[in-house]
């Protein structure tokens, strides 16, 4: 009864030819072992905790975020808006994670103010920037942004967008650009990150989602794509009896 270990593929070779003396340190070294592979392993994404509480935003910050989302992408005749799509939750999880910390950004100082062509020059990574900016926005709006009427909220957002409102320290235009970018991300990213709930953003525009084979459809000029959108975690039809 001979048996073969399934995972006998190696990851490492210490080749006598390559180093007569063993490496003092352990680098990963590959010699002649072919393309390495490990079963049951992949760099798959981590779905965020979707339960309904904020990990990062304080109640006041959440109020701003929800109000801003409701104006930036409102719920209307065209379809659900950012609020319904879960964008505030998306933003919260982003700020609570590596993105909020700016862990892949170059954050070393000094941090002189830069020119527009030099892009982001704040000493704050995104999470801190949101924290400071929201506080300053609420103060600039009177008591709070969330307390304004919808029309006034729209007007305020337009001023932020144009940079015509002076915040205490934060560059209003830069913050608005980041906020809008993040809201778009939340509205259109895969639902596993907390936004685009029910793939509502994708449904609104007709984007079929996480698909990988359009060969049968490419040459059907002008014909609507017949399948519903699917996400990395799948769609309702993947489960027996699941209704779309």
């Amino acid at each position: 009864m001979p048996h073969y270990q399934v995972d006998r593929r190696s990851l490492l070779v210490f080749s006598a030819a390559a180093c007569a003396a063993p490496l003092a340190s352990a680098a990963a070294q590959f010699t002649g072992a072919g393309v390495i592979w490990q079963a049951n392993q992949a760099a798959y994404p981590t779905a965020v905790d979707l339960s309904a509480h904020y990990l990062f935003f304080t109640p006041a910050e959440a109020a701003f975020v929800e109000a801003a989302c409701a104006r930036l992408i409102p719920s209307d005749a065209t379809g659900p808006g950012a609020l319904q799509a879960g964008v505030p939750l998306f933003l919260d999880r982003q700020m609570a994670g590596d993105y909020g910390k700016g862990s892949r950004w170059y954050m070393q100082g000094p941090w002189p103010k830069g020119l527009p062509t030099q892009s982001y020059q704040s000493r704050y990574p995104p999470a801190e920037l949101y924290r400071v900016a929201i506080g300053e926005i609420d103060r600039a709006a009177g008591a709070s942004f969330a307390g304004l009427s919808s029309a006034d909220q729209d007007a305020f957002l337009k001023r932020l967008e144009a940079g015509t409102v002076q915040l205490a320290t934060v560059d209003a235009k830069a913050f608005f650009a980041l906020l809008l970018q993040n809201v778009m991300e939340g509205f259109f990213s895969d639902p596993l990150y907390g936004g685009n709930r029910g793939m509502s953003g994708w449904r609104m525009i007709g984007f079929p989602g996480a698909r990988y084979d359009y060969r049968p459809y490419l040459l059907r000029y002008g014909q609507p794509f017949p399948l519903p959108p699917t996400a990395i975690a799948g769609r309702a039809e993947w489960t027996r009896g699941g209704r779309p």
Binding site: S25, R71, G79, D154, E185, F207, F225
Partner: protein, 589 residues
């Protein structure tokens, strides 16, 4: 206590596309080759699988496959009157990282430069005179001509299984191909990809205006393909997650899909990952290199001697390593002297959105190099008299996918948010296409690379400093191309169009291309180039610097086809000539 390892015959710094090409060629020739890569191993089924590759947030916006700036970045300014500040988050360009480098996330757009591109200085001076090539425009002839590169272009195209239609076979113009291209010896290895609706509308309109559209040459395989190394690639499925993403079904050419299956089986090739080269070491007399010092995964410094060192770390790192290692004279823009860092160039992009009332285009289906293109306005394919610029670029309607965070174009005057915005994209998303222009950038005295005086990387080395801006030449060229694109757009019969001109100084914020070129340029004179025609360093004959860093200026095409061809030409020179006379220059100064 720094450990010194036994010497190796060949040391390759950086294991991306170019590193894999050169390592395969030299290992196949029997040399003992060691590649050092500062990143990690990564491969298709575990790192870019079809189960999770379709993640726009993670790959496009959180930059999961690209260089992490917290580890190393660069500083940027438009000109010397400004203070360069760090690139704190990625934007304009997206350098690769780890095994396979940028080859993992590129689109697969593979071009040959025009014969006239290689002699841009002499050609344009002869035809248009000094008014068009002012002193400030420091363009140079390459020191290699198209005919010398042709067999190497062919080799790279067959390695990748490029899908395309030849336009010029041995001097005979072929219908359906690019009539402006230089002559090629044989057809592409694979037929063109299937063409979706929008590019065919573009081609029809363009042909109606007398232009010459043809399918984009694509390193996305139009059919399952076995390359000359015996490596198998799958068929592209038009998934629309190409550029910025790893390919999940082996259909986009990369080191992983074209070379590594063969190279990683060779007993005379070793890859050492998590090994970051700190500097290249020079001999005491400074006239050759002795190897490198690198930092391993534990942070220990290790000395790795080598007889032959090949630098393939992408143009930006190539130049930075030469500067921190003191190889070659650094360029001084004030005097114009020195060579390392000079003639840094880029690409100038613009686009025209085309909004249809009634045509369902399904733009979400796409491939990295899928589209109908035309080179009527590239290089010197047209008469520039009276236009006030030299160079040009391709114009084409590409369909590479329409990931929604990135791609939701709206007509002129539409707000960027709110109900009106929603209404516009819900109406237009499936019925919008975009024509793009991809223009050349001429070298200028004031656009260069050097080391930053203030900011450092995680290892304490100075960051590279980039001083760069577009000049009037580029602005006029880009406006011209945009206008030509708009003509075709209108002829397509849309509801409306929107022109997106490239205005103002070069801005590092929005993504444009990762075609950072120059800085260690090739040439025939060591006073004005860093490497010779075989990319051999004038200062150290046992050092070769391969990559887009060799371009004296950047023509109006994507660089990788030419980078691959140069790599193969250098490999051939090493195998057939250098090894017979090691440490000798392969070209006269």
């Amino acid at each position: 206590m720094t450990q010194t390892l036994p010497s190796v015959e060949v040391l390759v710094i950086g294991f991306g596309w170019t590193g894999a090409i050169i390592a395969q060629e030299l290992a196949e020739a029997g040399l003992e080759v060691l590649a050092l890569e500062r990143g990690q191993w990564r491969d298709t089924p575990t790192d870019f699988a079809t189960t999770f590759a379709q993640d726009e947030l993670r790959y496009y916006w959180r930059h999961d496959l690209f260089e992490r700036l917290n580890h190393d970045s660069l500083t940027f300014r438009n000109n010397a009157s400004q203070t360069a500040l760090p690139m704190r988050r990625l934007g304009s360009f997206l350098p690769g990282s780890s095994v396979g480098g940028g080859g993992v996330h590129w689109n697969g757009q593979v071009w040959r430069f025009l014969p006239s591109d290689f002699v841009a200085r002499s050609h344009n001076l002869a035809r248009y005179g000094k008014a068009y090539v002012p002193d400030d425009m420091t363009i140079q002839d390459w020191g290699v001509i198209y005919d010398e590169l042709e067999p190497h272009y062919d080799k790279f195209e067959y390695l990748c299984g490029v899908s395309g239609k030849a336009g010029n076979l041995k001097g005979v113009i072929q219908p359906g191909g690019d009539p402006f291209e230089g002559p090629r010896a044989r057809e592409y290895p694979n037929p063109p990809l299937d063409m979706p609706y929008a590019p065919t509308l573009f081609a029809k309109a363009a042909a109606g205006l007398g232009r010459h559209p043809f399918p984009h040459p694509a390193a996305n395989a139009s059919r399952a393909y076995t390359n000359p190394l015996g490596v198998q690639l799958g068929q592209c499925t038009y998934c629309g997650f190409c550029e910025k993403f790893g390919c999940g079904n082996y259909s986009k050419a990369s080191a992983q899909t074209t070379i590594l299956p063969v190279l990683m089986r060779k007993k005379n090739f070793t890859l050492r990952t998590e090994s970051e080269v700190l500097r290249i070491e020079k001999a005491a007399d400074g006239r050759s290199v002795t190897g490198v010092t690198y930092v391993d995964a534990q942070g220990q410094e290790v000395v790795q001697p080598a007889e032959l060192v090949i630098l393939t770390a992408f143009p930006l790192q190539n130049v930075r390593l030469m500067l921190v290692s003191g190889i070659g004279a650094p360029y001084d823009p004030a005097t114009g002297k020195g060579v390392v860092g000079k003639n840094y160039t880029y690409q100038m992009m613009s686009s025209v959105n085309v909004f249809f009332e009634d045509k369902l285009l399904n733009p979400f289906m796409g491939a990295g190099a899928l589209g109908m293109m035309l080179n009527d306005f590239n290089g010197d394919n047209f008469d520039h008299s009276g236009l006030g610029f030299i160079g040009g670029g391709y114009v084409g309607l590409m369909q590479t996918g329409a990931r929604p965070i990135e791609t939701h174009p709206t007509p002129e005057g539409t707000p960027a948010w709110g109900s009106e915005w929603k209404k516009a994209i819900a109406r237009d998303y499936l019925k919008t296409a975009t024509i793009s222009t991809h223009g050349a950038v001429m070298a200028r005295r004031g656009s260069y690379l050097d080391l930053d005086p203030t900011y450092k990387d995680v290892l304490g080395r100075p960051l590279l400093r980039m001083t760069f801006d577009f000049s009037d030449n580029e602005h006029r060229m880009s406006d011209y191309l945009t206008d030509r694109a708009a003509e075709i757009a209108r002829a397509m019969g849309p509801r409306e169009i929107k022109l997106n001109r490239r205005k103002g100084p070069y801005d590092i914020t929005p993504y444009q291309t990762t075609h950072n070129t120059g800085g260690a340029i090739m040439g025939t004179d060591p006073a004005s180039s860093a490497v010779n025609t075989y990319l051999q360093s004038w200062d150290a004959p046992n050092l070769f610097v391969i990559g887009g860093s060799a371009f004296p200026q950047n023509p109006g095409y994507n660089p990788m086809g030419t980078v691959g061809a140069l790599a193969y030409r250098t490999a051939e020179a090493i195998k057939t000539r250098y090894l017979k006379a090691t440490r000798q220059p392969l070209a006269p100064a």
